[in-house]
Symmetry: C2
Subunit: 356 residues, 2 copies
Amino acid sequence: MKHFGTVLNVSKMRQKRSSPNVSLENGGKNMNKIRVAICGYGNLGRGVEKEILKSEDMEFIAIFTRRNPESLQTSSNVPVVSVAEMEKWIDKVDVMIMCGGSATDLPVQVVEAAKYFNTVDSFDTHAKIPEFYNAVNEVALKSNKTSVISGGWDPGMFSIMRTYADAILSNGKTYTFWGKGVSQGHSDAIRRVPGVKNAVQYTIPIDEAMESVRNGENPELSTAEKHLRECFVVAEDGADLAEIEETIKTMPNYFSDYHTEVHFISEEELKANHSKMPHGGFVIHSGKTGENNNQIIEYSLKLDSNPEFTSSVLIALARATYRLNCSGQYGAKTVLDIPPAMLSRKSGEELRKELL
Amino acid sequence: MKHFGTVLNVSKMRQKRSSPNVSLENGGKNMNKIRVAICGYGNLGRGVEKEILKSEDMEFIAIFTRRNPESLQTSSNVPVVSVAEMEKWIDKVDVMIMCGGSATDLPVQVVEAAKYFNTVDSFDTHAKIPEFYNAVNEVALKSNKTSVISGGWDPGMFSIMRTYADAILSNGKTYTFWGKGVSQGHSDAIRRVPGVKNAVQYTIPIDEAMESVRNGENPELSTAEKHLRECFVVAEDGADLAEIEETIKTMPNYFSDYHTEVHFISEEELKANHSKMPHGGFVIHSGKTGENNNQIIEYSLKLDSNPEFTSSVLIALARATYRLNCSGQYGAKTVLDIPPAMLSRKSGEELRKELL
């Protein structure tokens, strides 16, 4: 097990396991591995599953689901268990990776899971984070567990970048741009338009807006002034294309405030060219020091697969969650509370030598 | 004073002050401020001085120098004190910001200062970091002080980016590009060439190399394949320009491995267009997830003033250093050991609401 300066203590970490025999069952082979499980098996759960299997410091224990466990086709051969049975696994899982949706699953499931397990999730409803934090914190403090909430990339890596930039150049301004990437919510909204058979919507940051920020001009920009929306639409046979386009472009909240482009394509074209889930974005911070010197900090992600990248972040955070708990830091935490080294498989010594 | 989840405790932080009366002398006005001082008054020290004066949560206490204190012209009116007197200020300074050079100053000065103070420095000789860490750690552990070493942007912010990226996409590859920026060492080397009156050298990342990395091609690149060197040279009257150019371009270690461009300009032109100290660079990490999906993480800095940006990072780290010490984390630490929230003036609650 890795050693982090003086913060973590190896012998303490070992003592923490409530059931050391679980490791011995494997002939001691997995003794140092972090035992992780997944709760929720959609796009994200499947991404997490693939990445756990590549993580040599982790042992994959189980998948928990609300569905009938027998109905799940999984890529690994770990047990698939009903969420109702969760409590029975209390001694067998170090970290539960929560892969449900933010709208209705996570607010209920994380609060429940934190009674028994350390958890990590990607809750991304920004406006409700304080409320979610308080609910999870209360439970996790009582159970002496650690719950890292709102991991992933936004919130997550982007939050880290906004925080560092604001701390270093506190007189500056931070801009977040999203895309180019598929917005599931906007794609769904188009699919509900009469005459539409299928659709994919890309959110695209506007180059001129990004350039203005990068030049230190500190513009005032609404979300609509930062992004345009490009829609690829498959229409039903005989549908009125002009009417569909008009309905999309004038749709309140989703499109009416934006520059929106609509392209009609065939179902085959949609499947061939628009079935991946790319995403990404930019956090750009512009501040001044001394006598009017511009200082620009920029972070960007260009992701072929949004759910797979989110999975990779969650796995690094699962590692950190376990270590936080081993060092006695209970309750709800966010990515902002975690030292970068805690996410890494490398020791402090290796990090200082190789990456510092 | 800001509150960080459950990690820091306000009343503890207050108790830590060995001489609470220092604050009372100011009528309690500065009671919650972090008392900082500077050791070393060159480009960096002057940058730090300007930024401390803008930091509302800090009180600027003194400047320590090896020179005759009376010979220093400072921008602030804090006492200028000989480094020989440092020990007498033990109860008056919370964090000493070490602004000497990495080659000879910091290895001696930080080890000495850590006997009495929490310190933060920007030691940047990458190969000697482990040795420097061990020396500082030993002293700081004995004195119950906290020393954050190798802050700034590389090492510093770039190290943080390399660590996060490597932790998230551990099968990937990280590339660091520097520039466009002035290299003091290379400029000095040119100035030593016979017939050269003055010179400035810019290190410039090569676009094609960066594009290859951004495309996920994972190329093998030497430092020389990633950067070119552009030199602006003022020659002495009557000097042989062709010979100067040849001497520069064939200089081992500094230029012979690189594509090097030499431009001869007038002293006036050099002063007018090349007297700032811009710098910056890129950390690009390229990894794969799932079935061959490329995931690209990129961080970049575009800095009008290298020493002023480094100063801003050191000040945010001084805040973190004080907080680490208040929470009992003694010894040498690096940026990789510090949660992002600890650098910020905002409370955990504000961060979760505004920046997460």
